[in-house]
Symmetry: D4
Subunit: 256 residues, 8 copies
């Protein structure tokens, strides 16, 4: 923007041309400017690409371009054919995570996201909830926050929740992500115990009536405990919002 203004001042641009340039370029400038201003406490918010909605060619093209620009990109819901093609992108490092079915792609040498220091506790009762919780974890870490997980709390009985929770309380999590399918009661339970904010992450496990995660989503929306919610199976949204919250807290702590 300053360039345009300088050219205008120096007479290289008429007032009409300046106005036109400012108008058409403004949003672009503004968008980039925003990155600059807040860069210090932002550490590589990952670009996300949902692969299953796109052709192999389009997915590869997007990843190639982002990687080329030294942008780390998270590709989620990757069908096999897409994965194979992504893996062949030259100069790209592809870290594939099997459970959540996603990969992180970046140019060799692109630095890892800075560790900002936000602490995100990710809890899930059932084994079925782990893939989406893992998606949340990876996003969290790509955002520069630290993820602490307790995934097996429900497998051998609810009594295993409390030791896990106790540990997280001691480590003083900045925010919790609680993933649950079926009746979706766990986030309510935990939000009634901890003081940090809790994000409910409804999972599409279950069957029958409202069994693709709707039941869990509705229960979290209706929760008597204060709870914020994301879409069914949206590990991305849960991870990104949690990291925003946790990192801002970490920055506040570090400013002292």
């Amino acid at each position: 923007m300053k360039d345009i203004l300088k050219k205008f001042k120096s007479g290289k641009l008429s007032i009409e041309e300046t106005e036109r340039l400012l108008r058409s370029d403004f949003v672009l400038i503004n968008d980039i400017a925003k990155f600059d201003v807040h860069r210090k406490h932002r550490t590589g918010v990952p670009e996300m690409v949902i692969a299953e909605d796109k052709t192999v060619e389009d997915t590869v093209e997007i990843v190639r371009q982002l990687v080329k620009k030294k942008i780390r990109v998270v590709v989620t819901r990757i069908p096999e054919a897409h994965l194979g093609a992504i893996r062949k992108i030259k100069g790209a490092v592809i870290e594939y995570h099997e459970k959540p079915g996603l990969c992180v792609a970046y140019k060799k040498g692109t630095p890892e996201p800075d560790k900002v220091g936000g602490k995100v506790g990710i809890i899930t009762a059932g084994t079925s909830d782990i893939p989406v919780a893992e998606e949340a974890r990876i996003i969290t870490e790509e955002c520069g926050a630290s993820a602490f997980t307790a995934y097996d709390v429900g497998v051998a009985g609810i009594h295993r929740l409390f030791p896990s929770l106790e540990k997280m309380l001691k480590d003083d999590m900045d925010v919790y992500i609680v993933a649950a399918g079926r009746e979706g009661a766990l986030p309510t339970l935990i939000a009634g115990i901890v003081d940090s904010p809790v994000i409910g992450l409804p999972i599409s496990s279950g069957y029958g009536m409202a069994g693709s995660g709707q039941s869990a989503l509705y229960a979290m929306l209706q929760s008597c405990s204060p709870l914020a919610v994301v879409n069914i199976d949206s590990g991305f949204a849960a991870g990104a919002v949690a990291a925003q919250i946790a990192n801002r807290m970490a920055v506040a702590r570090e400013r002292k």
Copy 2:
């Protein structure tokens, strides 16, 4: 049926007439017979009339006829106009319960339902759930079972649930009705603790998405704990099924 058979044997009815009579009357006979056979451990299953679906005149007429036949009748969801007219039925005693908005009507002198001895624990977390829980309680008692209630467990904090539950566990409830609106998590919680069967009773409190009890219903259907469910706000079904379960248990106990 025996009358028809006797008349047939004595030659007062031809084989064709007998067959016809048996055919058209069969279900009637069968139905009444059923009452006789099982009467000893049944003690006045209440007839139920939903008033809000009917005109004042029809409601009054149905109640009058049932009362006249010495049948106790429970009238639920009574609009004011209906109640006024019901109260004027001659010879009928009308016990009105304000909270659930229902009345029990019977002819003066009709005996109370026999106490069979089944024990039904009725638990509700919120004040908003009490009206429907009260409907369940009255039905339970009209069926001859004993109702034990713990209604205020959620008002001052969940820590009040456990003493109430402890007491019910000591009194060894045969079955539990657990009423809950909003996220409907309480029945799941209790079914994970007690060994007696639990009936989830979803309540239409709440608001917003799936907020007329659907959220609670879905959560109970999806429950990881074994749980049987009735319709939203159906204190009648919860009470009647619970009494069936509890009374059969009581009869088994008493047979010794």
Copy 3:
């Protein structure tokens, strides 16, 4: 818990340490204690694992651990790949039931569930309802109750229902599970005839509008007969709740 208290009394633990230990361990203790207290009339409530929601590896791992602890486990909705892997678990006996697509897994030598004596009548009108009814039957038996089935009542005409029902009435079932898809009318019909409690089990057969079991579920929820309901295709919930009801009745009978 007593150990902690003894150590406290003997001075090995400070009051603070004792409090902390009690707090973090309480739920664990409580949960296990519950098993002890009620063990006498509980006979191996089966752990259930839904395989289709999990990876092959996770499913196998869960089954292996439970089997190792001499816990009988029911694995439902098993995809072929999962089944193959489960069958290779060393030291585990795998009883596979093809129709319901589930298996019971246990360590060789683990005793069968004790027969408690509760009687559960399982009725289904159509051939399509049998797989889920079979799931309910196996759960019922894994809980130590006895299942009596009448599956073919609707194939050759409704007139075949009554002899089957007559037999069940004679054998005095403690509780009925009635499975039905499509319009889901059978549970209402049977609940109007029998005195024992009836659990409606909606089946996802059918097609078109509300044809994945919703129609059957709604009809059971709206039933004019007293009826408790479980989720669509939830043979597990139906079997577990029915066994709870029937076994408690059996215990009452046997106590005499």
Copy 4:
């Protein structure tokens, strides 16, 4: 149409004018012609007006015009204000039926619909279903068919259904309308017994999940017995279709 053709032949109309006239007037002619052709076995299909959707003024105006043309009109779902205004239409006879909340309006002297002779059996289990069943009955009769009703079959127990049905079977109904709310099982039951076609009429009584008639509608759509269905509370459609069926049968009988 003949008029136009004659004028054309006689040269009063050019070929272009004739074409234009025919084109714009065709549907009108055709529509009226249809009435002529089939008039002999049609006896005043009633015009229906749904009042609650319209202003008082519009409702009155429509009724006035139809009455003036000696057309009998059925006005349904009449709010009180509309009824008052309709009653003031000069020269109109207003037959008001309180239960279904509808009136039949016609010019004094307009003949009643001819009796064609179709026989429509209308059955309803509950008192709550009567208002809509009455709407069906009045439409049936306005179409010239005869309605036979059995409304109280469910009030004192299902055993009263069979004598009523027996009578209808004897009178050999041409078609049945079976109204039911809640779980909507009655039409399925009756369609399994009678040989005449059955029209299911779902009623919006009930409450909770799918309780505004959806449950009944779905059950009828999913019925294992052959069943045709109309919209929830649509006594009009049930009556009109039933009369079409029955009257066509009656005409066939009378042609002999």
Copy 5:
């Protein structure tokens, strides 16, 4: 039933035994009797089996038994594996219809259904609606009614509807089945033109919002023309109800 009564009269059965026998056997007798009474104008209502809901073994077993009893059976929604197995049933003739994906199975020598003479007009606008319309046609004919079809009316433009319809009007159909997907407007249009009853048959073609036939179903339920409706894609129900209507009309005509 007469046998039982005779034995009773001759003293071979006590009055108690007689009552018990009558009670348990009644429905069976009644059901069979019904077949006898109405047999003359019923000509082999087809048994229907939905194959896709059942295992190959169950499907084959049911078909084998029905065929053995000289009952014609229609098997719908047949997966390939089922078809192969059905074709191997010994002594069974299998008429397979590829478009609707169904077969008619009967014992060699079982007579075709008697032609009763009812006339059913089956109309469909789009090519996509033909499979379900064909299911309706075959059921219609298996019921002894005659089906007249006009399937291609919509392919080359709506102007082709009228000649087809004109022909059906001339042939004086007793009843119409009108199949339509997408916006489902055709049944409304035709019911506004013809005097015979019209059955709307919604088809699950279409896509997007309410695009699995719901849109068509809703439009038919809301139709301003009198219309009876069956479930989405339920060629069976449409065919069976239409045949009931048409055959009853034919019987009335023939009685003269």
Copy 6:
């Protein structure tokens, strides 16, 4: 914007201040600029206020401010209390339209919207559709387009549609709005006849299943004819889009 640039050039603003000013004010400027550029063929797009969502005070305040700025405002869905208060706004002319329940408010002396010349045909079959159609008409005219209406086409029979349509075809409408409730078939019918674009306007008349306009909306979305759709009862959107289309056409015509 030019002011800021001039001040910057003249040195009254530093480059940083200029940038900041441009950034914060940009959208405002841009928005107003847009009005200027396109003003010549825009003629008073009405501001719309939905009154029923707001308090009386807020509604009045908004209207007062807009009127004061010589902006014509359309207030829709006005409760009685709001209307009374709006009428008391000083200096405002309030044109109230009773059927659609809306008013146009403007400062005395504010010129009427310029007539641009777009021709919008508004058709509705039923009397119940008129209020929303009227809302569309008023919006259309407030946008400077001319509305041509044919509202009574369905009252006395569909044959009245064609003369109305004929007239509109002759007057060469630029675009049609077709309002319909219930099965919503009219827009499909008309879009199959006319060449101008058609906007379907679903109306919430009707009852029962999908009877609050959903049925009509779905049918329009699924229409086989090319059709654009607006929300249920959204006379505003239909009118505004239609006017945009028609006026752009009119401008094109006038440019010659």
Copy 7:
């Protein structure tokens, strides 16, 4: 029609025969006539066939017949087997477009659609929206309008929207199609900026709650900006309506 009238005038047809002929042929005539009248500014509206709903044989047959009549036909949603068979149609040119999965088929030598000159701007934010947008583009062009696309506006950030939009504003689009999945906000945004009409095209990308395009559809229906909408993924409807609007505008421009 004139032929018939002439024959009538010359006495070759009686008045009755003439009436009958006119009646049965009217709609046909009328339909064809319509094509004639408006032909001048219509340029080959494409016939569309949805292949996935049809058998390979039916699809091929329809395409063959249309192609033979020199009608260009667009076949959408083509499964592989269908495509193979279509490609073998003799004498047909098959232009296959892989992304939208559709083909245009025409007889060799059939002229391309006339360029009418309407300008349609097609915008999409995400890569996932491109296939449906491409369907809209091809339909638009088959209708003789010119399509201008901006597909990648959302890939690298929203700031790329404005330059694209700026260009379209300069080229003065007659109408916009804006495709969006997920939250569907883009059409609202653009309709708030441009003066030409905007058609929202909801896309079924997304996941979880309302994630098959419903969320986008609802948002467009509820839009505060004036917006017309088509069905989810209906590139056909969007393209056809947009071309109708744009071409009419172009015709108006060219008439000068």
Copy 8:
């Protein structure tokens, strides 16, 4: 807990009694303890009572008891009768807020919540969204956080959003609540601009399809920007979660 342990150590309680006491009282203790531990950075989380679900008597009783215990209580959705009765509670100060229809009740002398210092920006585009936003604001402040509001950003045009937002960016909000009805696009827009976490608060304004806030809710769940969501109209949940987030940040800042 310490009391019990002391009594045990001193021999006043047996080990069995101690265990029992600990077991039944544990949760109570634990719950209260939690308050103590975290008290320093918690400052009066408000108890909330939804009045409309409860009788006047119950509401008053709950408020009286809480007030008596010096607990500040927020009563939401207050019907007039409830408000009147609440105002008569002796010793209670009742601060009524008319727009959101809620009151804060507390004992005279109860201190205001401590100001913790979290900064919550609350933004709403439309006037209709203000009541729920006000509920969020009051809850926020009752939690000790500071609320900054920008409510009128949408009334006079979207260009007013940016100056408001600019100010909030300058004041460096810790978290944003963005309320929106209709298409619910504003939270997505803002989450794309700001770096602090954004909570979407869907409002039930709007009409027609998905018009009771579902459209807004779905759009927020599907948002491409990272967004956490609460239930429709749940100002309480939005305010409470936002305050949790903001206050934790403030505490981190203050710890330095």
